[in-house]
């Protein structure tokens, strides 16, 4: 019985992890899409965003997301952005915000990940990488 319970709990926690949204769409104008594990859906206020989600905005469109750790990102028109790596587990110090901006415009506002572990935040672009550094930043983002 105990063995059975342990296995059941393991699967439960594993599935909760995989299916847990890491952020949510809070603002949308025009046409925008969120693609997760190959499924493309029109973005609406309330659309969940997962690790690995691809965000796209069309012409004259925009979209804003707030993540679990209070990081905010927002995009102008014609943007392609990927949430490549998102881990927010402050209890055991596992923190990561890895993203890619293939094209378009991005406004990034740091949350707890940028405050606790600035070097864990990266935005990749076709020609380089933007990284967050320095203790000044820790002060800046304090809520």
């Amino acid at each position: 019985m105990h063995k059975f319970l342990a296995i059941a709990l393991f699967f439960l926690s594993a599935s909760v992890f995989a299916d847990d949204p890491v952020g949510r769409v809070k603002t949308v104008t025009g046409e925008a899409f969120v693609t997760t594990t190959g499924k493309k859906a029109k973005a609406e206020v309330g659309s969940p965003v997962y690790q690995g989600s691809l965000i796209e905005t069309g012409k004259n469109s925009s979209l804003g997301i707030t993540f679990k750790d209070e990081t905010m990102v927002s995009f102008g028109a014609n943007t392609v952005f990927t949430v490549s790596d998102y881990v927010y587990s402050p209890a055991d110090g596992k923190l990561k915000f890895g993203s890619k901006l293939a094209k378009g415009s991005l406004n990034y506002v740091s949350g707890a990940i940028g405050k606790l572990k600035p070097e864990a935040v990266t935005v990749g672009t076709p020609s380089g990488t933007i990284g967050v550094r320095g203790t000044q930043f820790l002060v800046t983002v304090a809520e």
Binding site: T66, S74, G76, S105, N107, Y108, S127, G128
Partner: protein, 219 residues
């Protein structure tokens, strides 16, 4: 503060908290990449289309970002300071920032709010914190697609296990009160850190009212 960007100060404070903006475009209007890289800072239309700008925080302090690319590395530490995404120094004026980032800035979600509620004993809320519950519910009402995280904490009296459970009880109690008073949210997440993340670090087995708390993030 950077005097080159006077009107940015007049924009809503919520836009600026350790923030930066990036424009990355693969479509370069009439400028081949090599051309603009050789002429950094040249006037439009030959200015690069891909750059990063650091934006000031509401209190005037500014964070720091490092841009590392195929052309070098730039550390940005001043408001209004910019670099190409390839890692070269770059100048950008306020008008161009508005043209390139106005839409992204306008799409920024509302800044999340945090609350800390205190417990006198067990799962009994302090009266002042009890009153705050209603304010949190009212505030959440104006937000789109609300996410709430509730994290329970304890002081260091008793064992780790005891406090993990007590922290969870406190967080669940707050979730229950928020729901009773009409909180509508897309998600409510309840967690406990027990005595692992004290607000005031103390020795073990120490009574500390400021550590008997629940932190609430409303996003």
């Amino acid at each position: 503060m950077n005097n080159a960007l006077p009107t940015l100060k007049g924009m809503p404070a919520g836009l600026f908290r350790g923030a930066f903006v990036v424009a990355a475009s693969l479509v370069l209007a009439g400028c081949a990449p090599k051309y603009y890289v050789d002429r950094v800072g040249c006037p439009a239309p030959c200015a690069p289309d891909s750059y990063v700008v650091l934006i000031p925080s509401p209190d005037g302090s500014v964070g720091k970002v490092v841009v590392t690319g195929d052309k070098g590395e730039q550390a940005l530490g001043k408001a209004g300071q910019a670099a190409t995404t390839g890692g070269q120094a770059f100048q950008v004026d306020e008008k161009r920032i508005k043209d390139d980032f106005g839409a992204a800035m306008a799409a920024l979600p509302r800044v999340p709010v945090r609350h800390v509620l205190y417990f006198s004993d067990g799962v009994k809320l302090d009266p002042a914190s009890d009153a705050e519950i209603s304010r949190i519910v009212a505030e959440a009402r104006d937000r789109p697609a609300v996410d709430v995280t509730i994290i329970g904490h304890t002081d260091t009296l008793q064992s780790l296990e005891f406090n993990d459970r007590l922290g969870l009880k406190r967080a669940n109690r707050v979730a229950e009160l928020l729901r009773e008073r009409g909180l509508k949210a897309d998600s409510i997440t309840v967690e406990s850190r027990g005595k692992r993340n004290p607000a005031i670090p103390t020795q073990d087995n120490k009574f500390e009212p400021k550590n008997r708390r629940v932190e609430i993030s409303v996003r």
